[in-house]
């Protein structure tokens, strides 16, 4: 316990050496003429031993006294925590703190819906490929494509078999996902994007069956159910190993690193592909770096330093001074509240639609100048047939048609790709119409 050095220990060590020497002399054999002298020396030594032992007892007593004092001092310091650090982990209790309340069975049923790899957690139900195709077309295809091939940057769900060892492997549900439970659980809880948690168990079974079909893993007669779920084995079920960095890398990469002359020469082998500028309004603009192939003009490096200074063209190109656009004060009219309410409702649409400055087509068309705009008329957006027909007829979005569409999209525009099921509250429709109208011409 005591960490303070004890000055008496060296003295005791010397005593020990003397005692050992005396003992050695008294037991070793000598020639006869030397015996008497040795005996006398031994007796003298013995006398000194007795003397030393007495002195030693005195030392021992002193040591004990000092140690006792040290122990008392340590105990005193420990009793005064102010001299030590006061930080401590959060205290725990043997029993509970008694906080929170018991969860109700209905609450557990509502939230505890995850599905384990062996199928535990699945609700009863079933769905076949045929039904799945319909549900998928209505609720998934706007992002994932009719054949699960993926639209734009949205995930590809099908194909990619035998590509995992290639450069840029195609990792789909079929080629990569090791457990069917993962697909069911994710679709059921987290999809469709923007309307998560709305799929019934049977719809989920059907969608998953269709995804398997689109991967050629089942035939078109297939029905997935809580009964046959656990039997299904995924293509890549044995394709994973558990993190092997400790064996593969850590031992090799823990040596004392090189500090000098670690390489003979260093050359630049690649330059940045994209140059990124930072507009004052936020985000980035990136362009290809046209100088990226110019490697020869750049210096190489040795222990003596860079080979040369690169011949840099003094283009003196300057970015034009861009001042942040003046923020226009919002008009505080009576409709402002409605517009604000509409902005909140618009969260339901944001997964697919953009509106406002710089709005672009995403899974759905951009919605600027919507009121008064010809239906299906946004450049560059691939509309469904029903929208194309409406455009040819010259139909125009007004508040009435928009309200009807938003209430029941699939009834008002039969065949629309929009997966949204509709706004139930009239107040929401009124608010979102006001919000969208605020992005009209001249607003």
């Amino acid at each position: 316990m005591s960490k303070s050095p004890n000055p008496l220990w060296p003295a005791l060590g010397v005593t020990g050496i003397v005692l050992g020497a005396a003992y050695g002399l008294s037991t070793r054999g000598y020639k006869a003429q030397e015996a008497d002298m040795a005996l006398a020396q031994a007796q003298a030594a013995e006398a000194r031993v007795v003397e030393q032992a007495a002195a030693n007892e005195g030392l021992q007593a002193q040591i004990a006294a000092v140690q006792e004092e040290a122990r008392a001092r340590v105990a005193e310091l420990e009793a005064r925590p102010v001299a030590l650090s006061l930080t401590a982990p959060a205290p725990e209790r043997d029993g509970a703190f008694g906080l929170g309340r018991a969860a109700h069975a209905e609450e557990l049923a509502a939230w505890d819906v995850d599905v384990l790899p062996d199928g535990r957690g699945l609700p009863e139900g079933a769905g076949d490929v045929f039904t799945g195709e319909e549900v998928f077309a209505a609720k998934c295809a706007s992002c994932h494509g009719d054949f699960a091939e993926g639209v734009d940057n949205w995930p590809v769900l099908a194909g990619g078999f035998d590509t995992l060892a290639d450069k840029d492997p195609v990792k789909t549900v079929g080629s990569y996902w090791p457990y069917l439970s993962t697909v069911w659980d994710y679709v059921h809880r987290s999809m469709p994007f923007g309307e998560a948690g709305t799929l019934t168990a049977d719809e989920t079974y059907a969608i998953v069956a269709y995804i398997l079909y689109s991967n050629d893993l089942v035939d078109d007669e297939f029905e997935l159910s809580s009964e046959n779920f656990a039997e299904f084995e995924m293509y890549n079920k044995d394709g994973f190993v558990i993190d092997d960095r400790p064996d593969r890398e850590y031992a090799d990469w823990s040596a004392e690193p090189c500090m000098e002359n670690c390489k003979d020469e260093v050359k630049i082998t690649m330059r940045s592909v994209f140059l990124v500028s930072e507009p004052p309004e936020g985000g980035t603009e990136s362009v290809m770096n046209h100088a990226r192939d110019q490697l020869d003009s750049l210096p190489s490096f040795t222990a003596d330093g860079p080979s040369h200074v690169a011949a840099v063209t003094q283009a003196a190109a300057t970015t034009p001074a861009v001042q942040p656009a003046a923020v226009e004060a919002p008009e505080e009219d009576a409709g402002a509240e409605l517009v604000a309410a509409g902005e909140k409702v618009f969260k339901k649409c944001k997964a697919c639609h953009q509106v406002g400055q710089g709005a672009k087509n995403k899974s759905g068309p951009q919605l600027n100048n919507l009121i008064g705009r010809t239906i299906g008329s946004v450049d560059g957006f691939k509309y469904s047939n029903v929208f194309k027909a409406a455009m040819e007829e010259g139909r125009v979005w007004d508040e009435a048609s928009l309200a009807a569409f938003l209430a029941k999209p699939k009834e008002y525009m039969k065949g629309t790709k929009m997966s949204f099921s509709g706004l139930k509250k009239e107040a929401d429709i009124e608010a979102i119409t006001a919000y969208l109208a605020s992005f009209g011409e001249g607003s």
Binding site: E107, W111, D152, T182, G197
Partner: protein, 422 residues
């Protein structure tokens, strides 16, 4: 515009224009030929009065710093709702990331969930399935710890070589905050959980993605926090207000935001985020999973492409960040010649475990081109690898866990570019 390196940064330009506007010759103070009117003439701010208190009840950075913001790269993802942006690490100093510019990553957008509407359920292999309100959480003994949170995909683009020109974009999927929270083990014990070593804890969020991850019991009992404050104030919406999980040293995807449920299970759930995502494929087509720990890594934040040297030769502060999911950073070396010669950097202060550590190399720049690199070492003795070492070990099909040594080429004008070297 013909050469990337002849392109002055916006920052340099703004600095120059500000000096011009003040009626002086743009240039270093040392080059000032006559008395400086900023000193000899009475300036408005030294004569007129300034802003009163409460002008901004919650203060924002001064307008001159308005460029120091999170930024996304639009074409990286399909939608900003399921996307990521980058912390402006190039423009920050010290180690703490202000919440307002700490990177965001959402799977179904950031949600507005009030404390009143917040519920946390703990169930599964527990004696007492419980529901906590936000107020309940604040009644458990709490702790304060500084930890970094790094997305597993940070530097992921660089597997394919030097891609985006800027430390913000190559290394900005990271932030470092002081969290206040309740140890997860406290809540597990409150519910009478089975905490034997072969059990797992499944955690999920309240947002539409309900992002869920499985955590082995050993980690759950170790240092995981159920956090409700960051840097002294409430969490921001985009970081999981009112309650998020903090999983020190482990990939950011596991730090579930808007934490709504903790389930004790007898094995991993194998959710989407731990099978189809956050796994990496080796050259033979097999994939690694459960790569939770973020290995030691570092980057020089200045000079860097967004932070060119604007002062010419002479004293130069090389500043950077280092971190390790295995514990403390013990040493950082810096090379100015692409890894031929290394100098041990000065640590700003002894690093906290699993937190960002600031390092410096203070040099006299001779104006010659440099290939700047940094190399971190942590308390396990692990040395940050080169990109070549990583590729030799894992092939070129990885997306995540790229902790390679980064190289910036700094030319004689002080302009820096993201490069790859032999």
């Amino acid at each position: 515009m013909s050469d990337a390196l002849s392109r002055p940064s916006r920052r340099a330009f703004l600095k120059g224009s500000a000096a011009m506007a003040a009626g002086t010759v743009a240039g270093a103070a040392a080059a000032q030929s006559g008395p400086d009117p900023l000193i000899t003439e009475l300036q408005d701010w030294a004569s007129y009065t300034g802003a009163g208190v409460d002008e901004t009840p919650y203060g924002m950075p001064i307008s001159f710093e308005s460029h120091v913001v999170r930024r996304n790269v639009e074409w990286l993802t399909a939608s900003p709702i399921s996307s990521i942006n980058f912390t402006p690490i190039h423009a920050l100093e010290g180690t703490i990331t202000p919440q307002g510019c700490a990177f965001e990553r959402h799977h179904s957008g950031a949600i507005e969930l009030s404390k009143q509407d917040y519920r946390l359920m703990i169930n599964g292999l527990v004696d007492r399935p419980l529901v906590f309100t936000y107020a309940d959480i604040e009644r458990f003994p709490r702790e304060n710890h500084v930890y970094f949170c790094e997305c597993a995909a940070n530097t992921g683009m660089e597997w394919a070589g030097a891609q985006l020109n800027g430390a913000q974009f190559t290394h900005g999927m990271i932030h470092n905050m002081e969290y206040t929270g309740v140890p997860l083990r406290t809540l597990l014990k409150e519910a009478g959980a089975d905490i034997s070593a072969d059990k797992w804890v499944y955690v999920e969020g309240a947002d539409a993605s309900s992002n869920g991850r499985s955590i082995p019991m050993e980690k759950a009992l170790d240092d995981v926090l159920v956090a409700f404050k960051a840097n002294g104030e409430a969490l921001r919406m985009e970081h999981g207000y009112p309650v998020r999980l903090v999983v020190p040293g482990w990939e950011g995807n596991m730090w579930v935001k808007w934490l709504r449920r903790i389930e004790v299970v007898d094995g991993p759930v194998e959710s989407r985020e731990e099978t189809s995502k956050y796994t990496d494929v080796y050259e033979d087509g097999t994939a690694r999973k459960w790569t939770w720990v973020m290995d030691a890594k570092s980057v020089i934040t200045s000079p860097s492409p967004q932070m060119p040297i604007t002062h010419g030769k002479g004293p130069l502060v090389i500043s950077g960040l280092a971190w390790s999911g295995h514990g403390q950073i013990t040493r950082v070396d810096v090379s100015r010649d692409g890894g031929i010669t290394w100098e041990t950097a000065r640590l700003g202060k002894q690093g906290d475990t699993k937190a960002l550590t600031r390092f410096y190399l203070d040099v006299d720049w001779d104006g010659a081109p440099m290939l700047l690199q940094s190399r971190a070492m942590d308390e396990t003795g692990y040395v940050q690898p080169t990109k070549a070492q990583l590729r030799d070990s894992r092939g070129e099909n990885s997306v995540y866990h790229n902790n390679c040594i980064q190289t910036w080429y700094v030319n004689e004008q002080g302009i820096a570019e993201n490069v790859e070297v032999s």
